[in-house]
């Protein structure tokens, strides 16, 4: 088995070290002193405006490899993308030249109402057509391949044409997009929807995964005796998720990895320690799997969609 083929032979840029999500409480510290983390992931919408935020993301992008991760474009919405939202992401991407631009396999807006959440889509043929069209529009707007992330789901719909993994694989086929595999989300959704998380990893095509996310979830007991896993990003990564991460490293090869933490945000060194833990596992996985040393991408190659 070799390193993730998507990165072989590409110029080194520091992505052999794991990254962390860029969060407001850490920004001044990250600017004052270069953190040892490999890269930072900024939520696109946090930097739509100008002023101090925009100045700081420009400064951050001068110091670190940066990825842009959207949470509000609503790629799965049935009534068309918000063109102004799309334009703002494209402008930001042009300004800071991120390593990756990513969004979610979800929707969050319909008509004039939106939610600050990531809602599940029914995996139907209609949804696939809508989603693929919007991914193509997104890739056209930013002039590069985008990554689509698997979400945490709490609900499933009736009358589906695809499993989530088949839907993602078909989306890659139709659009040429890449995948951002959130290992924590796999654990959360697998528990909540009742499937095997290892099967999920094994069913994802190996030629599209360009980034991993890791995070912590919370367990909320339900009145019926079951447990719901809530994707709160407020705790360290669970042992179950580290185990799935090792399986993913074995299947997909060494892949840029990011620690997400969004609630009860701890000190920067706590996140740095989680990223370092991921690095140790990555190096162990390389040794076990006989990987060649990881050669990361300075920038993913732009791909034109079909």
């Amino acid at each position: 088995m070799t390193s993730n083929p998507l990165y072989s032979g590409l110029e080194k840029s520091g992505l052999e070290k794991s990254g962390i999500g860029l969060r407001a409480p850490h920004v001044d510290e990250l600017i004052a002193q270069r953190s040892p983390v490999g890269f930072l992931e900024a939520h696109s919408e946090n930097y739509f405006g100008g002023g101090k935020n925009r100045a700081q993301i420009r400064e951050i992008a001068e110091m670190y490899p940066v990825t842009l991760h959207g949470v509000g474009l609503s790629l799965g919405r049935a009534d068309g993308l918000d063109q102004d939202h799309l334009r703002q992401i494209a402008t930001l991407a042009k300004e800071i030249d991120p390593l990756f631009v990513s969004e979610h396999l979800t929707w969050s807006g319909y008509s004039h109402s939106h939610v600050p959440d990531l809602l599940p889509i029914p995996f139907t043929n209609e949804s696939l057509d809508v989603f693929a069209q919007h991914v193509n529009d997104f890739q056209d707007a930013v002039g590069r391949q985008i990554l689509v992330e698997n979400p945490s789901n709490y609900l499933a719909f009736a009358d589906l044409d695809y499993s989530e993994t088949d839907f993602l694989n078909a989306l890659v086929e139709k659009t040429g997009c890449g995948l951002l595999l959130d290992i924590n989300n796999i654990a959360v959704s697998a528990n909540n929807l009742g499937y095997n998380p290892e099967d999920y990893i094994d069913n994802i095509r190996t030629d599209a995964v360009k980034q991993f996310h890791l995070a912590g979830y919370e367990v909320k007991p339900q009145p019926d005796g079951t447990n719901i896993y809530l994707d709160t990003h407020g705790l360290p990564v669970y042992p179950e998720v580290w185990k799935l991460y090792k399986r993913a490293l074995k299947r997909f090869g060494d892949t840029p990895t990011l620690i997400e933490w969004d609630t009860d945000i701890p000190a920067l060194n706590v996140l740095e320690a989680e990223a370092a833990k991921a690095d140790v596992i990555r190096r162990e996985a390389e040794a076990e799997n006989g990987h060649a040393p990881f050669v990361p991408a300075s920038k993913p190659e732009s791909q034109t969609h079909a």
């Binding site: 919408e45 739509f48 405006g49 100008g50 002023g51 101090k52 935020n53 925009r54 100045a55 949470v71 509000g72 474009l73 609503s74 919405r77 049935a78 009534d79 918000d82 102004d84 939202h85 703002q88 929707w107 969050s108 807006g109 319909y110 008509s111 004039h112 109402s113 939106h114 939610v115 600050p116 959440d117 809602l119 889509i121 029914p122 139907t124 209609e126 949804s127 809508v130 709490y154 609900l155 499933a156 719909f157 009736a158 009358d159 909540n192 929807l193 009742g194 339900q222 009145p223 019926d224 079951t226 719901i228 809530l230």
Partner: protein, 271 residues
């Protein structure tokens, strides 16, 4: 003769459209109803009780966000009453775009008529000021007009137009909202504050150092800035002021105020 038989796929007939599903689910998330339950799986993953997760998440995240936009309102009414305000506000003013920073624009108007808040008649003014403050911090960048550029434009012999920087907002208040706002910025210092009914105009804007400033405006500044905002040429805006001032002292005061506006980076040139 063979009869043509039109057959429908029974499953296709039953399948709801993506629009049907999203319309129903969005409705449920803002109302707590369960109109989308009929589209869910018929196993534990389709338990309609799970709609509450999305309903609660939405209310919680939007309430937390509104508390960051309206911290002085929260201090004035207390965290619990603010949650009550949000429970009533959010269903009638849903997040308007995928950019969360656009959520909360209608809070001032809402508080003006929200019956349980009427014992705090100044709340609407405070919310107006806090929304303007938040907008000023996040507004788009634009190059402010400098004294050098103004001198050059004035000497060019051609008229030109100035407008407000995207962060700059021209507002009117009934109460001394800025005083109340300032008094709540440092709660370790006890400040005696008198609530005053005093109609006035205020400019809220972000200066070049990314600081939000509040500037009380004279009637002549309001006249000038309103003309600029409406698209008037510089000469016309200045003539409005010249026609309104009653003596040289007032004109000299306006000229000082105008210089302060330029120094505060709140004017840009219309290209």
């Amino acid at each position: 003769m063979r009869r043509l038989c039109l057959r429908q796929n029974p499953r296709a007939k039953l399948m709801p459209s993506l629009q049907d599903i999203q319309s129903a689910l969005m409705h449920d998330i803002y109302t707590g109803e369960r109109t989308s339950a009929k589209y869910l799986a018929d196993n534990m993953a389709g338990n309609p009780d799970r709609l509450d997760i999305y309903f609660n998440n939405n209310l919680l995240i939007l309430t937390d966000f509104l508390a960051t936009v309206y911290p002085v309102v929260v201090q004035l009414v207390g965290a619990e009453f603010f949650k009550t305000i949000c429970r009533h506000y959010i269903p009638v003013h849903p997040q308007p775009s995928g950019d969360l920073q656009k959520c909360g624009a209608d809070m001032s108007a809402f508080l003006a008529t929200f019956e349980p808040a009427q014992k705090h008649p100044y709340l609407s003014d405070i919310a107006k000021l806090e929304w303007a403050y938040y907008q000023a911090t996040t507004a788009a960048d634009a190059t402010p007009v400098s004294f050098d550029v103004l001198t050059h434009l004035a000497g060019s012999g051609q008229d030109f137009a100035l407008t407000l920087h995207p962060s700059a907002q021209l507002l009117t208040f009934e109460y001394n909202a800025a005083d109340i706002w300032h008094a709540h910025q440092n709660l370790t210092v006890e400040t005696e504050l008198e609530l005053k009914v005093i109609a006035h105009s205020l400019l809220v804007a972000r200066n070049g150092a990314h600081e939000v400033i509040f500037k009380h405006l004279s009637e002549h500044e309001v006249l000038f800035l309103s003309a600029c905002k409406a698209g008037a040429q510089f000469t016309e805006a200045m003539n409005n002021v010249a026609n309104a001032v009653q003596n040289d002292v007032q004109m000299a005061t306006f000229q000082q105020d105008f210089a302060a506006l330029v120094a505060a980076d709140v004017l840009t040139q219309v290209q």
